[in-house]
């Protein structure tokens, strides 16, 4: 009898460890996936935005102001070809931050009913990491109250800032911020 109890106890401890290990592994897995996926998403979104800004002209981005000003959307055109020595630009394109849905939306021909819309990213934070809506530059980057996607001009270059944030099932919040300085090539 005593042997049975001891055996059951040991088996219970082992099974309990297995369950705990499984639970911890699952949490670690989720954490790893969340962080890594968010990092990938931030990086790929920033790559797309940077490539779009590279392909346009600096003088077509009048809405992008120098710090402390910023904007969360840009209208631009990219070069398609050169005909008779003059660059030929494609249809107007737009990159904007939709705060209501937390998306970075890219649109071709925004004024046209046949325009194409693609979401480049979800989980964009309302405010850039470290920033709160108080009229003060909380994160020390020279801009106050900037949103999760912010463009500003630095001489003849464009600074792009992006923060993605996401919460897992354990209500742990993950935040990834990317910053890039881009020169318009046209």
């Amino acid at each position: 009898m005593v042997e049975v109890v001891i055996s059951l106890t040991i088996l219970g401890i082992i099974l309990g460890n297995i369950v705990m290990l499984q639970s911890a592994s699952a949490n670690a897995y989720e954490s790893g996936v969340f962080g890594s996926t968010l990092e990938d998403s931030a990086e790929s979104t920033m790559d797309r935005i940077a490539l779009a800004v590279m392909s346009t002209r600096i003088d077509s981005l009048d809405e992008v102001l120098a710090a402390p000003g910023f904007c969360s959307e840009i209208d631009y055109e990219v070069v398609l070809d050169v005909i008779d020595g003059e660059p030929v630009f494609g249809a107007p394109e737009k990159i904007e931050f939709l705060m209501s849905t937390g998306q970075v939306m890219w649109t071709r021909d925004p004024e046209s009913p046949e325009g194409v819309e693609i979401s480049w990213s979800r989980y964009v934070s309302e405010m850039l990491e470290g920033e709160v809506p108080n009229g003060v530059d909380d994160n020390g980057n020279g801009i106050a109250d900037e949103q999760g996607l912010a463009f500003n001009r630095d001489v003849n270059q464009i600074m792009i800032r992006l923060t993605l944030t996401r919460e897992d099932s354990n209500h742990v919040q993950y935040t990834k911020t990317k910053t890039r300085r881009v020169t318009c090539r046209n």
Partner: protein, 516 residues
């Protein structure tokens, strides 16, 4: 046993997960690196074009290597002097292609027409038109149905700030250069464009006619400084013999040269000559014999062409006679204790040439019919002035560095080449093929050049052959250059000879040996 199996299985799953995440991130990083590899290829191709080569760098089968990636560039010649450069970069698993279109030859200053960095004022009764020396002499392009000998089109007046065109205010006729008589009461006429600066204004008096555009130009007013060649001074030429005094081809420098009445100074091209002071009194003649090459005159302290002096050009092609005037400081040149204007340009009759005086406030009188172009700090044309702009100057290299100009940049689809389809590291791929990629400096496709230059002995020489075989150490001044893709450089593709403003020997030698 079960415990071990469960733990092992979970371990394998997590390793697989992290491996796939790492691969994704690595691919993303490699793609960015490939983009910058392609940009490095564009820079290398740009250098190739500057050196007069074709712009092709490497091939898909034998690319150039930089760091741990490779690239190649395909150059395609387009109409109107454009070159399209398609650069493909490979690094790790990343592949990226970009295309840049560059203007091979451009002169942003000479193409501005009659230009001033600040303000231009045109006196009443003046007439400005244009023509193209590539289509023949000016007289052959004059329209017969005009009220005075003019082509009736092609003129260009431009400034970095304001343009003022004085209108009809004096009804009496005015006599201009070449026997032209402005009609009574005729206002200023611009057969072409009159363009103020981006933030300037165009003021038009009554009776002024402008047939072309009056929209603000895009020029920001910058005029590159003149780099006067450093040439040892020669003794002053002997002008009192009664015969024309000839300055032979090559490179020469003189202190002060003053021509009195009936004295003739002949400048034989190809020639670069520097004067500290060049003075033509009434009745003096300066003759540019540019039939064998361009005559470029640098004046550093004082240029005075008095009324009644004459400047002749044998070819009557404006690009063949260029005055680079850096004089701009007022000084008492004649000893009367009154500061004198360092630049006075009033030769009589037709002047075929280009006058570049970026720091001078220049005034032109009705004595001169300037045919060619002019650029100055400010420009004032007196009443009854006559100026004809030569549109052919836009494709010269009179006042530019000669560097190509980027017109457009865009991303392009990656070419369908075996090395691109393979997702392997390109250097490993090439190693398996037994291919050793080239160093960047050795990967340029050879181009051919025909150049006329002045060697270190002051003699005019000519060379035609591969660009890489030019002995730059023996080149003192480059007078003209023409490039081609084949060994016979004869302009059969419509290319023209160019005259660089300043020859930088060190740059030419360093770029020839440029490489990693």
């Amino acid at each position: 046993m079960v415990f071990v199996l469960v733990v092992a299985g979970m371990g394998v799953c997590m390793v697989q997960l992290h491996t796939s995440q790492s691969r994704r991130q690595e691919t993303s990083v490699d793609r960015k690196r490939a983009l910058y590899m392609a940009e490095a290829g564009l820079a290398e191709a740009f250098l190739s074009v500057v050196q007069g080569k074709t712009g092709n760098v490497g091939t898909p089968e034998l690319p150039a290597v930089i760091g741990d990636g490779v690239y190649w560039v395909e150059a395609t010649r387009l109409p109107t002097g454009l070159v399209s450069l398609l650069s493909t970069g490979l690094c790790g698993k990343g592949r990226f292609s970009i295309t840049a279109v560059i203007q091979r030859e451009s002169d942003p200053v000479a193409s501005l027409g009659v230009y001033a960095r600040t303000n231009v004022s045109v006196g009443y009764g003046s007439l400005i038109d244009g023509y193209s020396s590539k289509q023949g002499k000016f007289e052959s392009q004059v329209g017969m149905n005009q009220s005075s000998p003019t082509t009736g089109s092609g003129g260009k007046v431009q400034s970095g700030e304001n343009v003022t065109l004085e209108g009809r205010s004096h009804p009496s006729p005015a006599t201009g250069a070449g026997g032209l008589v402005a009609q009574s009461g005729v206002g200023t006429t611009i057969f072409g464009d009159a363009l103020p600066g981006p933030t300037g204004v165009l003021v038009m008096g009554s009776g002024v006619m402008v047939t072309g555009s009056t929209a603000p130009g895009e020029s920001n007013g910058a005029l590159p400084a003149i780099e006067t060649p450093q040439i040892a001074l020669s003794p002053a030429p002997d002008l009192g013999s009664g015969l024309p005094t000839i300055i032979s081809p090559g490179a020469h420098a003189f202190s002060t040269v003053e021509l009195k009445a009936s004295e003739v100074l002949v400048l034989e091209g190809p020639l670069r000559v520097v004067f500290e002071q060049l003075v033509l009194n009434e009745g003096a003649v300066l003759r540019a014999d540019n039939s064998a090459g361009v005559v470029t005159v640098f004046v550093s302290e004082r240029l005075q062409f008095s009324s009644g002096s004459v400047v002749e050009s044998i070819t009557e092609v404006p690009a063949d006679l260029v005055f680079m005037v850096s004089a701009h400081l007022w000084s008492d040149f004649d000893g009367d204790e009154i500061a004198d204007n360092p630049v006075e340009f009033n030769p009589s009759g037709k002047f075929y040439g280009y006058l570049y005086a970026p720091e001078s406030d220049l005034s032109l009188t009705s004595e001169t019919h300037l045919i060619g172009g002019v650029a100055a700090n400010s420009l004032a044309l007196a009443s009854g002035s006559r100026v004809t702009y030569d549109q052919a100057l836009a494709s010269t290299l009179i006042a530019s560095s000669g560097l190509p100009l980027q017109v457009a940049w865009r991303t392009s689809p990656v070419p369908d080449e075996p090395i691109c389809r393979s997702r392997r590291d390109p250097i490993s791929y090439l190693e398996d093929q037994g291919v050793v990629p080239l160093a960047s400096g050795s990967a340029h496709e050879e181009g051919f050049v025909k150049t006329i230059y002045v060697d270190n002995a002051g003699l005019v020489q000519e060379y035609m052959g591969p660009v890489s075989l030019v002995d730059w150490s023996d080149v003192n001044q480059v007078l003209s250059m023409m490039w081609d893709n084949d060994p016979v450089v004869d302009g059969d593709n419509g290319q023209e000879a160019h005259r660089p403003l300043v020859f930088n020997r060190n740059a030419a030698m360093s770029t020839q040996n440029f490489g990693f």
